[in-house]
Symmetry: C2
Subunit: 331 residues, 2 copies
């Protein structure tokens, strides 16, 4: 196993300790595995929480800070956090305006966040609204998921809803913004290699050399089909075809185009992919209003990428442009 | 070859086109493969240029922008840019205060930057000072290099000298800052896999599964020795041992501690490594003043990491903290 880790069982704890040491501006509750924005709760501001299995870094803890999340709950690798943990985070970030849960659509996450919301309501009278992301057009139902999987759009929801909360919008309004981003976002990914879960010690799935899995999930769940590795231009076509068939991205104020690395794909390849994505969008008459190119929602050491498009309006673009100060997104 | 590329011969051109499309705030001269800060030259400001072989992204073009570089010259993969290209960039960013060349210590780069400086002086009377980085403690002389190799400290030189130039310091002063960073910085890296140069289509070196190369260079040059893959705590020891033996990092205003990913190592592992690095520094009585954890100087799709320490004083820390707005570093 070619990994820079200690005991496989301690990867999440070790990484959270490193994160706390590297980012003293965050507050980390190591017992509960919760990463908090300094100064949380912010009085009068809607609190934003996300979380999920670890192994997708920088998602979610790398997006904690002003303009984005108030807290992130880390589960074990590819395993949902537990309700008590999420309830503790929910109560801790409630500044009196309620709390938004941003939940990727995986059965365990959805169920545990629901239980956490009930706990926080019962024990501390926190008002909670949950928004579930399900932007992956690759498959309907999947390993771990009923319905579509939540993937790349989650990063955009956290940024844009985070900005809306920072502006002082109400819980209902922030939740509306989050739902709008999810409703107008679509993603699809491709894997050129499997990932390896540290505790398993061997690749999650077999992918013969020279083959790629089109429509891969972020936990190595099967995609649509397995085909020979193709040039970047063809890969971009394979990913954008289903995305553009699923929603009309023309018109409006353009799209936020996000090319994401899966963990083991270097930045030079992501720029090659972005060039091909931009060419397809230009041909389709879709305006690129904003861009994001980097590894923001990963799948451990999987090689590959995903493409996310978000059809934006003026409000979403202004929220996207608003200042953000987190470990992984800053402007 | 598990890469998201088109023709191997076009990787650099394709990536530069993607970069230009993803970052409309930059100006890219595709013919000469030069990435410019918008508005360059900045009148009265020392111009900063770096460049080198491609394959180390985001270094260097990802560091072009206010507070860091005025231009970056991209060579072919792992191949120095040519003198004419560097001379064109030098002349274009001269705002009347001269130009600093930041050069990693590889024979081809050093020679070509020297020729470029002579060309720019002869043809456009540009005053040029070059600072060569040579922070890699792993080996003395190497494939491509007489003396020590320039690696991680180059990122810190570009940030800190960039801030000094932004403040309006003179060419001699900015060069002094760059030299001070290099003199007080030390690095060492480890590879858990080889990289693969696209045009070659096969791994640059053979590294049996379960082995790692300690002291690796950023082009796959041999390191000090090959040992079985070890826990992160031991890897941190193997990297920090030679660094701490080479320079006394105690005292002063603490260190900037930089854990860098080699391209195919995900962020979660870098945080695990940072935790081990922080533990060793604490034990050695070395104060961590600032941190940087991410993939900033890579070696294509190599798995592994490097550690860089910079012994800082108050001036260097203030320059480090100064605002920067580039694709890969922003605060």
């Amino acid at each position: 196993m070619n990994k820079l880790i200690n005991e496989p069982a301690n990867v999440v704890s070790d990484a959270l300790r490193g994160m706390a040491e590297a980012h003293p501006e965050l507050r980390v509750d190591h017992e509960n595995r919760i990463v908090y924005r300094a100064g949380a709760p912010v009085r009068g501001k809607v609190g934003l929480i996300s979380g999920g299995g670890s192994g997708h870094e920088p998602l979610h803890a790398g997006f904690v800070g002003p303009g984005m999340l108030d807290a992130a709950c880390a589960g074990e690798i590819f395993t949902s956090p537990v309700p008590d943990q999420m309830a503790a985070a929910t109560t801790a970030v409630d500044g009196g305006a309620g709390v938004l849960h941003i939940v990727k659509n995986y059965t365990g996450d959805v169920m545990n966040f629901e239980m956490a919301a009930e706990l926080a309501a019962a024990e501390a009278s926190v008002e909670v609204v949950a928004v579930v992301t399900d932007d992956d057009v690759a498959v309907q139902d999947s390993l771990y998921t009923a319905g579509r999987r939540g993937v790349g759009v989650t990063v955009l929801v956290e940024k844009i809803a985070g900005a809306a909360a920072e502006q002082g919008r109400s819980l209902a309004e922030v939740a509306d913004v989050a739902r709008k981003v999810n409703a107008n976002g679509r993603s699809m990914g491709v894997a050129l290699t499997s990932c390896t879960v540290p505790a398993a010690g061997k690749p999650t799935f077999d992918l013969p050399d020279g083959q790629m899995e089109v429509g891969i999930g972020i936990h190595g769940e099967p995609g649509r089909r397995r085909v020979p590795i193709a040039p970047a231009a063809e890969v971009a076509d394979l990913l954008l075809g289903p995305i553009l068939a699923d929603l009309d991205f023309t018109g409006g104020d353009g799209v936020i185009a996000f090319v994401n690395g899966m963990g083991a794909t270097p930045q030079i390849e992501l720029y090659v992919m972005f060039h091909e994505v931009a060419a397809i969008l230009a041909k389709a008459g879709i305006t690129v209003a904003r861009t994001l190119v980097g590894s923001y929602i990963t799948s451990l050491d999987m090689a590959g990428c995903s493409v996310t498009l978000l059809k934006a309006d003026d409000d979403l673009l202004r929220l996207w442009d608003a200042p953000v100060r987190t470990p992984a997104l800053r402007w």
